[in-house]
Symmetry: C2
Subunit: 256 residues, 2 copies
């Protein structure tokens, strides 16, 4: 078998004072991470930056140079703190200008008398951007080069991500399986786990202690990669490792 | 009144394949963000990187140079994927060596016969590190320079953060107040909000559309900063802006 091409890589850039202030519990990272795994795109980095132009521009340029895809969320609405779109234009060194098709569609939907300057900003895109048409919002996100610009509101972001999935190049899906044991201590299985990891260098083997309730806990062992047979074998070995302690090994994720 | 010193700044570095794979919904960012706001420390950036030495080392060095404090979570347990501690040593260019006091305490607690090589790794710290003593775990996190290294398991991280709060320098607490209106559209208030933001350049004024249920939504306006009187006045103006649309302005956070 020839060596398959490596999976594409990606980063997420969350643009949002509301995450940094603690006002909002982010849920977009987790949603996008799961979707990317299904698409076979390796999520390699996440950054969260405030609504400050230079911080956004620098992060976009660093991440688009380092990874195959960049997904941004936040800052594409009509208010003064929505500056993502003009920052992306600046990052790419292109004009930020009315996108005629979007402008016409928004004007028609909202009505000429209500299509004020603030709303017209949402029809202003970096030159060369392709709108991400979606079912949740008339005002589009957009893709330019390898950067995909989405809303911050989870339901709208999710509709945009779903639309993007139709056009993103895919890799081999990244599969993940886990087994856990209640009462297992990491220090008891560390040596055995190292041996399993060394047998399957193509997989990421993770060990995650968990707690639930006030006093109960254990360890979950997670195997992740693109080779499902290797994952199955590694999980079988991890199952033996837990059973060797006289503890029942349970397939799947621990209770939380 | 003399100009007060600017608040200290901070970054969070989440070290964790489990966040990037989508296996785990992060809750540590939000916990730390809220605590930092109370302490008057400005959270200016978050990064999530995988369990890969160069990625951790590069991120630690970039963030500790850019901000007054760096808080890391994850990767300080006894298993093969717990590499944070040795990466921090490498980032600081110091030896990674047995920390005698921690070693003795762990050996006494665990018992000599069970204090195996994997567990001894947890008593191995960068030279010059100060353990973060905490109520949840014998194996310490640690501080070195301006970097504070904590566990990834939320309950243990929280205990470590609580211990750290005793020693962190503080700024003026960052306060936040919000008002929302159900049925408000951002495009209707954008111009008025810009005017309020311009009147209070010392505050961050944010506008956040929200949805709940299938069809209901609105906009929350959030004022954030260290000047509580300015926040109160800005929120009073935002309240008028919403009321001017004939919509009830409600203080606090919208339902979710």
């Amino acid at each position: 078998m020839t060596n398959p091409a490596p999976n594409p890589t990606a980063a997420i850039l969350i643009i949002g004072n509301e995450i940094l202030s603690g006002r909002t519990q982010d849920v977009n990272i987790n949603f996008i991470a799961k979707r990317l795994a299904t698409l076979g795109i390796v999520l390699a980095e996440v950054r969260v930056v405030p609504d400050i132009p230079n911080r956004i521009i620098d992060a976009v340029n660093a991440l688009r140079a380092a990874y195959d895809h960049v997904f941004t969320t936040g800052g594409i609405g009509p208010t003064h703190d929505d500056i993502t779109s003009e920052c992306i234009a600046e990052a790419f060194g292109v004009p930020w200008e009315i996108h005629a098709e979007t402008f016409a569609a928004m004007e028609k939907h909202i009505g000429k008398e209500n299509f004020n300057a603030a709303r017209q900003r949402m029809a202003t895109l970096p030159r060369g951007a392709e709108p991400i048409k979606n079912s949740a919002s008339l005002a589009p996100g957009f893709s330019i080069g390898n950067v995909h610009v989405m809303a911050g509101v989870p339901r709208i972001m999710q509709a945009m991500m779903t639309a993007l999935e139709e056009i993103l190049p895919r890799g081999r899906p990244i599969a993940m399986r886990s087994v856990y044991g209640i009462g297992v201590l990491e220090g008891e299985i560390a040596e055995g786990l190292t041996a399993i990891q060394n047998s399957y260098p193509e997989l990421d083997l993770g060990s995650y202690p968990f707690l639930y309730g006030r006093t109960t806990g254990g360890v979950a062992i997670v195997a992740k990669g693109t080779d499902e047979q290797a994952i199955e074998r590694a999980i079988a070995e991890a199952t033996k490792l837990i059973a060797g302690l006289g503890i029942e090994a349970i397939q799947g994720e621990p209770p939380s």
